[in-house]
Amino acid sequence: MKLSKSSIVLIVALGLYLIYMFGQSESSLEIVDFSIDKSKTQTASITSNEDRNPYYGDLHVHTSYSFDAYVFGITATPDDAYRYAKGEGIKHPMGYEMKLREPLDFYAVTDHGIFLGMVNAMADTTTKASQNPLAKPFHNLNRPENLNDASFGQRANLFSSIIGGNIVEQYPYWHPRVIKAWLTKNSALALKVFDYDVHKSAWADIARAAEEHNDPGKFTSFIGYEFTSSTNVEGGNLHRNVIFNSSEAPIRPWSRIDSINPENLWTWMDKLRDKGVDSLAIPHNSNGSNGQMFEMETFRGYPIDNAYSEKRMRNEPLVEITQVKGTSETHPLLSPDDDWADFEIMNKRIGSRPPTYSMPAGGYVRDAYLRGLRLEWTRQGNPYKFGLIGSSDSHTGAGAYDENNYWSKVGLLDGTAMARGSVPLSADRVSMLIEYAEEYRQPLSISEEEQGTYTAPGFFDQWGAAGLAVAWAEENTRDSIFAAFKRKETFATTGTRAAVRFFAGYDMQSIDLNSESLIKEAYAKGVPMGADLMAEGTNSPDFIVWAQRDKNGSPLQRIQIIKGWIDPGNSVPHEIVYDVVCSDGLSVDPVTNRCPDNGARVNINDCSITQGVGSAELKATWSDPDFEPKAKSFYYVRVLENPTCRWSTWDAIKAGLKPRAGLHQTIQERAWTSPIWYVPPKDNLDIIPLAGSVSAKD
């Protein structure tokens, strides 16, 4: 068949066009070395401690490069964030200073991968990106005169419009950018507002800041970002922070626009690891996932299998259990017998508008651990065997870790006590909120209470001061701390600098808790937090716990060990909380497994705490009175401090008012270690859970 001349010309033209498009590789697997040559003279050598030191840090910080931070009026840069972590003061959008009492050991700026850098570009009317009609609402958003409370309505609405996808308008399918997006596997190119150069240079700046501030031996920074995914139908939160171990990183972050399914994120991370760039992903806010963070099936609804479990564990060895948007350890409905379960519960789906209920089951860590054991029992592998860290999720570049110095998270939207719901609203603010409800078609978010008119409960008031990630590592360097993350030798705190050690083994009774060689022997004879303890016949293991208070915080009240297990014959899950050692020399009641009340109280009028009660440090060797050698189980430590005022009470007192009724007035700061899993010998049961839909063979 002979083609006419014009069709030949057309085909050749199309071919050249495709070659031109294809020729420029913008693949997300392209790796860039962001390292900086620093010729600073190093005057101190790096000393390594074989017994490991606790290093305190935050792996979840947003700056103005995040689309939502910019909308919230944040102008902090990654450099500002790192300077804050090292102890300098930086400015909050409302004008006051944020400063740490004590510097942190490590920090990672993790801006949202989706639309990274785009909102700054859209707001700056001198850029090309701002000329796009879709960018108009953002123009000059953060000019100095607009950095105030009154811009609240505009900002909240812009935030929702981004999340709701109002600005993800695509080019038509025949447009060159769409074809290019398809050929180079960079879906974001197909969006009208997306400017790839801005995106790449924002990412490069974040990487550069991390490299500049990394100071091996003194301070560690990590290149990272947040993968901000959620489920398609229910909007359940599936956010994860991706942390890179070295100064080499991909040319762009893999975002929700590439694929909303976290499994594809892990595939990308696996490919990068093959190329020599190691990373890990840390899920957070499972409390806002409507039960979908820790499901019993995959994202697309298929059965979990061993390959999935291994892939998930390979890429996600840690979970962020606590942060500003609530704590995800457990929920009072899931753990009715745990008196401390009702702690900073946040029960709304992240980013939903208006804030929509998130159901508990599948959204909390303790439940996830039990689900993992159940999946393992049905031969599907255990994808929920993660260690724990805390972080902030601050969008101001600076985490607010102390209850008495709390500026929450989202800059202008919650930078004042009124906005946070701890003190009554002024008449001005009430009318502003009424206007906002009418203009943006939202439920009126005020509540008339006895003490006055407050913002409606159930949002900012549920948030709380941030947490910290702590790693047991030999030295303060990237390699050493990252290795601690991977072996899960980490613990989470609610912002306190308490320190906790946890070991399990079969010969721990022989270790003298008062000897200088306690730690060396514990490592030699047992396993640390985050590890597996293999069965030794029917021998019952012993556990060593040791905690020290935060010298600037509240004394310790008790150490608990929380055990979860499933029945060997039918996988029914159970959990129990044991008090293991009490403060002030008090003894645990062997029947109730509880410490007596040590009398620690808080004076609500001035937030002073009872003096002379509580301990500076606690340690004990403990064995499980109800040990079952055949049951798959996990044990993790929870350390509780004496109670102190919650931030909402501090706010009220500073304003000379009574705390708001209906909110917790005090909290007990706490720490949770990564669990130690007890692995019983293999059972030889034939298991068929679901009429053959899951393979019963190993």
Binding site: S39, T41, A499, N514
Partner: protein
């Protein structure tokens, strides 16, 4: 005869006009790539990647260079460089860089030394301490136990009844701030006038009492100029870049007249 020539010329002229209209000014479409340019690109590639580029890669480099030049010329033809804020900003940046770079890269030693003297405090290196300690927990009668321990040590007794300290036993080259982080702010007074290799104490921390054995101590010092020369040089250059640019702008500002509407309402 003349009429025909005129018509001929007219038609020719018309054709000429039509040709101009249909085929706009064809600029010289020749792109010259100099050897210098190629060599500089290849050596940039080499220093980035660490080896010589293969033939294939050199072809790619040239292709990229050519494409960029083509696109640049096409853009100029379309007048895209006029009224473009980003281009204006970039050119402003460029001249700023040029003005920064008019400084000699190698200021002489005396200038640097003077700069160093003026900014001495910035380079001060804090004193560091290396020590080990014996800890006695607050949960027991720590003060009494620590005093007894000190006496035992002085009497050369080998076994001392102390407690393990969660934050560690041996501390190497720590500044006073770092020590405060591990023991509490009040603890650092222990290090005033401490003697080397002699158990001293008891000192109180947030967690109990301690006896401290100072093993090594390095005084705070101002590093010698030679040790820190690189750092001083880079700081000096940075500061002077800023000054050079400011000076240039001030000089040149006076030559311009600004015209603006004083009554603008917005």
């Amino acid at each position: 005869m003349r009429k025909r020539i005129l018509i001929f010329l007219l038609v020719g002229f018309l054709i000429y006009l039509i040709d101009i209209a249909l085929n706009p000014e064809e600029d010289n479409k020749d792109i010259y790539i100099s050897d210098q340019e190629l060599i500089s690109l290849i050596s940039a590639w080499k220093s980035q990647v660490g080896r010589d580029p293969t033939d294939e890669e050199i072809v790619k480099i040239i292709n990229n260079l050519v494409e960029e030049e083509i696109l640049y010329r096409e853009a100029l033809l379309l007048g895209l460089d006029k009224e473009d804020r980003i281009i204006k900003r970039r050119l402003a940046q460029k001249i700023t860089f040029l003005k920064q770079e008019t400084l000699p890269d190698n200021p002489n030693q005396d200038v640097l030394r003077q700069f160093y003297d003026e900014h001495k405090e910035k380079y001060f290196i804090k004193p560091v301490y290396s020590f080990t300690h014996l800890f006695f927990t607050k949960e027991t009668d720590s003060l009494a136990r620590s005093i007894k321990a000190l006496n035992d040590l002085l009497a050369d007794k080998k076994s001392i009844d102390s407690d393990p300290y969660l934050l560690g036993k041996n501390f190497t080259e720590k500044t006073l701030e770092e020590i405060a982080r591990n023991f509490g702010n009040s603890f650092i007074i222990a290090f005033d006038d401490m003697e080397l290799n002699k158990w001293s104490g008891p000192f109180e921390s947030s967690f109990g009492h301690h006896l401290v054995l100072l093993k090594d101590y390095r005084d705070g010092f101002y590093p010698s100029f030679n040790e820190i020369r690189d750092q001083v040089l880079s700081d000096y250059l940075t500061l002077n870049k800023e000054n050079a640019v400011n000076q240039y702008i001030n000089n040149v500002k006076s030559e311009y007249r600004i015209i603006i509407n004083p009554n603008l309402k917005f």
